[in-house]
């Protein structure tokens, strides 16, 4: 088992992790950037469309090209060591990060850690949801846009947020038929430009509709959709049978935060941020000292904010390592905070901002409880704010399909108990 020592370890080389690495490296921090993928760029490497968002450098550029540019900057930076095709497995109390490389398990010892692992797809509950052919939108994009393989001949898209609309268009570009886009909400979730693009190509977008079931012997051979009433119940008699071999789920993302759970950072369920997120302060530091976060793992948003938040995390880590002067620090911190504020000034960001406010209030009460327990060490277990129900999740949300779970065995995958209407409210990228 090889051991590598470094000043800063960053997990995830999406826009957040890359920008964190570039910022920290610019202050002379020896940085190790870990990603389980081979290519750098996270979600960006699948995005063939021109990006929305207002990032001064990147608006209007295709995601794949943004990724390429960022990757070049990383590869040319002598302070950054890249460990690609390397998965982070666990972070231990002594600061050991265990990683699996193509050659085996290694240890990476860093003084600081930034978790920028992004997000994973939400699951939806319906009979047949475990059949091969039911794929997440990210999987469809990976297969099609990274590996050049069509996911099937004919697709039913679930969710009309920007992801559902954009992936539908990408499917059409790749020569795949999109039978319909169904949306449980009464209105289309994504931008009108994306919706009209696919409508012009003959794809019906059916609001107040959802999937009733997917069927097939060994894999998806068809799917039944139906209309929903005001109480989100299917209306008998409105069923339509579609001949499709792929059902694509685009009902939103949820933070990929397992490593943060595992390393003991305080977590909270905040629907506005996409599910369970770590509690973190303005410097992006979690309740576990020296562990910072940035990007979708801290709340589902978009690439431009992920990049700015990544810079903030990189700056804070560099600062805590004593690499940034007071003057530079306050200048840069104000600059990045101002950029984030600008990016979040639109009406679409109201939800994110209220989620962050909620999260900060929880962080505050955790800190206060910790201060109390420190004052009375005999009464409270260390680091355990025992009477903080808000921070003690009542239920464990599944951030990934639990295909082998009991529900899966019954032919239904686990889902967050949130019904079919996730697409509008959950896709922060679109709003």
């Amino acid at each position: 088992m090889a051991v590598r020592t470094t000043e800063l370890v960053i997990i995830g080389a999406g826009p957040a992790g890359i920008c964190a690495a570039l910022e920290a490296a610019s202050h002379g921090v020896k940085t190790t950037l870990v990603d389980r993928g081979e290519e750098l760029g996270g979600q960006l490497i699948k995005q063939t469309h021109k990006f929305f968002g207002w990032h001064k450098k990147s608006a209007g550029t295709r995601g794949v090209l943004i990724a390429k540019k960022l990757a070049e900057e990383v590869l040319n930076n002598e302070n950054i060591t890249l460990l690609n095709s390397t998965e982070a497995l666990g972070y231990y109390d002594d600061g050991t990060l265990l990683v699996e490389t193509p050659r085996g398990i290694d240890r990476v010892l860093g003084d600081r850690l930034i978790v920028a692992t992004g997000a994973s797809e939400r699951m939806l509950l319906f009979p047949g949801n475990d059949l091969p052919g039911v794929y997440g939108a990210g999987a469809v994009q990976t297969l099609m846009n990274v590996h050049g393989v069509r996911p099937g001949d004919s697709v039913l898209m679930i969710g009309s947020g920007n992801i559902g609309l954009i992936v539908s268009y990408q499917l059409l570009q790749a020569g795949v038929r999109v039978a319909a886009v169904v949306e449980a909400m009464p209105t289309i979730g994504g931008y009108a430009v994306h919706a009209s693009k696919i409508r012009r190509l003959g794809v019906p977008i059916m609001t107040r509709h959802t999937i009733k079931e997917a069927y097939g012997k060994e894999q998806v051979e068809g799917a039944v959709i139906w209309e929903l009433d005001e109480n989100w119940n299917g209306i008998p008699g409105t069923e339509k049978d579609l001949e499709v071999d792929v059902v694509c789920l685009a009902i939103g993302l949820t933070p990929l935060a397992e490593l943060l759970w595992q390393c003991g950072a305080e977590m909270a369920y905040i629907p506005e941020l996409g599910g369970f997120v770590p509690l973190y302060d303005e410097t992006m530091e979690t309740t576990r000292k020296g562990v910072f976060v940035a990007g979708d793992v801290a709340g589902i948003e978009e690439a431009s904010t992920a990049m700015a938040a990544g810079r903030m995390a990189g700056l804070s880590a560099a600062r805590s390592l004593g690499k940034v002067s007071d003057l530079d620090y306050s200048r840069l911190r104000n600059e990045i905070a101002g950029e984030l504020e600008g990016l979040r000034s639109g009406p679409a960001s109201a939800k994110i901002l209220s989620g962050i406010a909620k999260m900060r209030a929880m962080l505050q009460s955790v800190k206060e409880a910790a201060a109390v327990s420190e004052a009375e060490p005999a009464n409270q277990p260390a680091n355990q704010p025992a009477d903080q129900p808000a921070n003690r999740p009542a239920k464990q949300a599944a951030s990934e399909p639990a295909k082998e779970g009991d529900l899966a065995e019954a032919g239904a995958r686990d889902s967050e108990a949130q019904g079919n209407n996730g697409s509008k409210s959950e896709e922060a990228v679109g709003a």
Binding site: D130, M144, R150, Q173, A174, P401, E404
Partner: protein
Amino acid sequence: METGRSSCKTRIEDHPILDFPARKEVTFTWEGQELRGYEGEPIAAALHAAGIKVLHTSHKSKRPRGFFCAIGNCSSCLVVVNGVPNVRACTEKLREGMRVQRQEGTGPAPRSRE
């Protein structure tokens, strides 16, 4: 056991935005049947291109499983590669001569190194 409908149109050749560079073709086997794919692509991509979607069966009810997340998150795509079970087909790269098998439940106990 059926391996699913095969389709010759699954590889994207012309794309309005993306170029897929020419890659080296390799031969591998799926359930003993010889197939061709590109070196270094995920095993799941090569199988998908050959029309094979069922990769695994569930432990209890033996329900068919295919890939789902494509990034190594969900363990829905487990296959047996050269006798080693629990290999994620969506992230494991295809190599010349690989013997890939569908994994039934937990798969066989790994043998000592061949």
